[in-house]
């Protein structure tokens, strides 16, 4: 469905992704997790065609999206939905207008039909009464749900989620996680989720990919990941502060740094 091969990306002299292979199967939920700054968001941007990798290619069915750009990407983009980390709703439009936007732009549907569709999408995320409010009048969690409704506007085949539960209270996080599971089980939507929330991944994922220092460190079903003997993977899923992953992000020796300046 979505297949990436040998994705490499560097920013300045820092290697963010180093030969990542990735496969998300149709109608499955694939979770990608890793440490902050570990290349997850970069991978996601490459998968949706917003960023070109330095090397490697991404296939959507048989279409290589890294070899095309601009308007050529539009047919692909109309088949996918994306939930941005902070929602990225258009602040000058109401909730209803935000959700109607992709339909108005890409379909020839009548305004009355669009109005009904907007209500249906909002009902899906439980926010039917909020159609006429501006995004700024909603809480962070509500904005994310509206953004999800917008991502679903054109009934996409694949939905990408960038940190869907970060910054939310536990109940709202659970609501979003359940929504992701429902989208997949009830509507058969392929979901690709980038997160560092391990527990939710373990609960609903069909497949988990762990990125570490720009490479795929482990991949498999939640059971396989849990049973992994790799101490780094174990540190990841238990969230242990002590282990192979140090909290020090600097490469220079501390003593040397202090003495030399």
């Amino acid at each position: 469905m979505i297949k990436a091969r040998g994705i490499t990306k560097r920013y300045h002299d820092r290697m963010v992704l180093d030969g990542v292979d990735f496969l998300a199967e149709q109608k499955k939920i694939t979770y990608v997790f890793g440490t902050s700054g570990g290349g997850k968001s970069t991978l996601l941007k490459i998968l949706i065609g917003a960023l070109k990798p330095d090397a490697g290619s991404v296939f959507y069915h048989d279409l290589d999206i890294t070899s095309i750009s601009g308007r050529e990407l539009d047919p692909f983009r109309k088949r996918i939905g994306m939930l941005f980390q902070r929602g990225a709703l258009l602040n000058s439009l109401t909730v209803g207008e935000n959700i109607a936007l992709p339909m108005r732009e890409h379909t020839v549907l009548d305004e009355n039909i669009i109005a009904i569709m907007v209500k249906m999408k909002l009902e899906l995320v439980g926010l039917r009464d909020f159609e006429h409010l501006l995004p700024g009048q909603l809480s962070g969690g509500m904005q994310k749900r509206v953004a999800l409704a917008r991502a679903l506007a054109l009934d996409p085949e694949v939905v990408f989620f960038d940190e869907p539960t970060s910054g939310l209270d536990p109940i709202m996080a659970a609501v979003i996680t359940k929504l992701i599971a429902d989208l997949n089980r009830l509507l058969g939507i392929t979901c690709i989720v980038v997160t560092h929330a391990v527990e939710e991944a373990m609960r609903i994922a069909d497949k988990i990919v762990i990125l570490y220092q720009g490479r795929v460190r482990a991949e498999g079903t939640p059971q396989e990941i849990r049973a992994s003997s790799d101490p780094l993977v174990q540190q990841f899923i238990t969230g242990n502060p002590d282990g192979p992953i140090s909290f020090h992000a600097s490469s220079k020796d501390f003593r040397e740094d202090l003495l030399v300046g």
């Binding site: 996918i80 902070r86 990225a88 258009l90 602040n91 936007l101 992709p102 108005r104």
Partner: protein
């Protein structure tokens, strides 16, 4: 010395790069304007008149105040100068002020005010949208950000600025008229006759052409700088400042070029 050349070289390369990007944004804007104007459905969603209201109507009070006061100040100065050289015949003033305003200062003054007020707002607005990933979201939804964000602003300013310029000219002359008729003893009908005699049709259309060119420059620089924002709030502020400086300077340079072309 070497670093000075390096600095000039780098500045020149940046200038050429900006110029080429601006030209390509201009081309894109024209193409997307045609797309929008042809599509009635999309036009209904993105009413250009709403932009005219936001740009034109909301700038009106400021433009009219500044130009009215400018007309009065100019009249005071000319009257003072005439008294200094011992000439108490003020009947030159109406013609002189009218020509100076419509031919020279009016379009420039209006464009500088609008560059500071509207151009800066374009950059801040689009830049903030860039920071909050709204523009990336548009692209991901296969919606062209140029059509969505630039075209309305471009067309809105293209309609607003010439109208504002004419109104500003009229208000400046009206300011002068008030002072002349109340303090300098020039009868209203004399003022009107002198002003109309001095004004040529060419002054009006040259003003409109200038305003149209300025509108394009202000809209494009404002939107371009907004689309270029990277990072966070700091870059939005910096880009807004760059917009005001570059669009004001560009307007002043173009004003000289166009004035020379029309009257040189």
């Amino acid at each position: 010395m070497k670093s000075l050349f390096g600095f000039i070289g780098r500045a020149f390369i940046t200038f050429l790069r900006d110029l080429s990007s601006l030209t390509s944004l201009f081309g894109d804007t024209i193409v997307q304007s045609v797309v929008l104007l042809k599509d009635h459905r999309k036009q209904k969603q993105w009413p250009i008149l709403q932009q005219v209201d936001q740009i034109g109507f909301h700038s009106l009070l400021m433009v009219l105040t500044v130009s009215g006061l400018f007309g009065i100040a100019m009249t005071v100065l000319i009257a003072f100068e005439l008294r200094e050289i011992g000439d108490s015949n003020y009947s030159y003033i109406p013609g002189f002020v009218t020509v100076a305003i419509f031919r020279g200062v009016g379009p420039l003054l209006t464009a500088v005010i609008v560059a500071g007020r509207v151009g800066a707002a374009f950059t801040a607005r689009i830049g903030t949208m860039k920071v909050s990933e709204e523009i990336l979201a548009l692209e991901t939804m296969a919606i062209n950000p140029v059509r969505f964000l630039v075209v309305q602003r471009f067309l809105g300013l293209l309609l607003s600025l010439p109208a504002l310029t004419i109104l500003a000219g009229g208000t400046a002359v009206f300011g002068s008229f008030l002072l002349c008729s109340t303090r300098l003893g020039i009868r209203p009908e004399i003022f009107l006759r002198e002003a109309m005699d001095a004004l040529m049709l060419k002054d009006l259309y040259a003003g409109v052409i200038k305003a149209t060119v300025f509108a394009m420059v202000i809209a494009l620089i404002g939107c371009y700088r907004g689309l270029l924002v990277e990072g966070g709030a700091e870059d939005v502020g910096r880009s807004t400042m760059i917009t005001v400086v570059t669009s004001t300077l560009t307007v002043i340079v173009l004003d000289t070029v166009l004035t020379a072309a029309f009257y040189g």
